[in-house]
C-alpha cells in the first residue's frame, strides 16, 4: 500500500526513529511500512495519522 509517511515525516523534520518512538513500534517496522513492504493494521494506521494530525485517507492510499 502506498503512503505519504516519508513526505509527512520530512515536513516535520522527524527521523524514522523519532516517529517510531511516537507511535511505539520498532524503527525497522516503520521502515517496512514506509516503503510499502508491510501494511499496518487499522489501529496502527490511525495512530500514525493521529501523530501527523491528518486523516487516515490522507496518509494511506493510492494517491
Amino acid at each position: 500500500m502506498k503512503n505519504r509517511i516519508k513526505v509527512l515525516r520530512a515536513e516535520r523534520n522527524w527521523s524514522q526513529a523519532e516517529l517510531a518512538d511516537r507511535i511505539n513500534i520498532a524503527r525497522q517496522s516503520l521502515n517496512a511500512i514506509e516503503n510499502g513492504k508491510a501494511d499496518p493494521s487499522l489501529p496502527l494506521g490511525m495512530r500514525i495519522a493521529k501523530v501527523f494530525g491528518a486523516r487516515v485517507e490522507d496518509v494511506f492510499g493510492e494517491d
Binding site: 511505539n24 520498532a26 513492504k37
Partner: protein, 142 residues
C-alpha cells in the same frame, strides 16, 4: 502486550543464555545420561515460555513477519525431517552410526532412538526457521 524494545531484548537474551547453559550442561554432564532427558524437557519448556514472552514484546509488523517466517520454516522443517527419517529407515546402518556417534554405549534403548528422532525434528525446525528468516530478509519487496 505493548511493543517494548527493552522487554524483547531481556527475554531474547534470557533465551540465548538458557540455550547456552543447556549446551554447556550437555557437554559437561553428558555422562550422567539419566539426567539429560529431564533437563532437556525443562529447558525446552523454559525456552518456549521465554520465546513467547519475547514474541509478545514485538510490534505487530514484526509479529506478522515472525509468524510468516515460522510458518515457512515449519513447513520446510517437516519436509526435511521426514526426508531425513525416511532415509534413516531405508539405511538402518546410518541410523546405527548416528546413534553410536551421539550415544557411546550399546545396546541402544528404544527411548534413545525416540530421543534422537525428537532432537532431529527440533533441530530441523530451528535450522529451517533460521534459513527462512534469512531468505525472507533478503527477498526484495513485492
Amino acid at each position: 502486550m505493548a511493543y517494548s524494545r527493552k522487554g524483547r531484548l531481556i527475554f531474547r537474551g534470557a533465551l540465548f543464555a538458557v540455550a547456552a547453559a543447556w549446551a554447556a550442561f550437555v557437554l559437561l554432564l553428558h555422562p550422567s545420561r539419566n539426567l539429560v532427558p529431564y533437563v532437556a524437557v525443562a529447558v525446552l519448556i523454559v525456552c518456549l515460555v521465554l520465546a513467547i514472552r519475547a514474541f509478545l514484546y514485538l510490534d505487530e509488523v514484526e509479529q506478522a513477519r515472525r509468524l510468516r517466517v515460522a510458518s515457512y520454516g515449519a513447513i520446510f522443517g517437516v519436509w526435511v525431517t521426514t526426508s531425513f527419517l525416511l532415509f534413516l529407515t531405508i539405511q538402518p546402518s546410518m541410523l546405527e552410526g548416528l546413534a553410536d556417534m551421539l550415544i557411546r554405549h550399546r545396546p541402544h534403548l528404544p527411548l534413545e532412538y525416540f530421543g534422537l528422532g525428537v532432537m532431529a525434528a527440533i533441530s530441523a525446525q530451528c535450522l529451517c526457521g533460521l534459513l527462512a528468516s534469512l531468505v525472507l530478509r533478503l527477498k526484495p519487496a513485492a
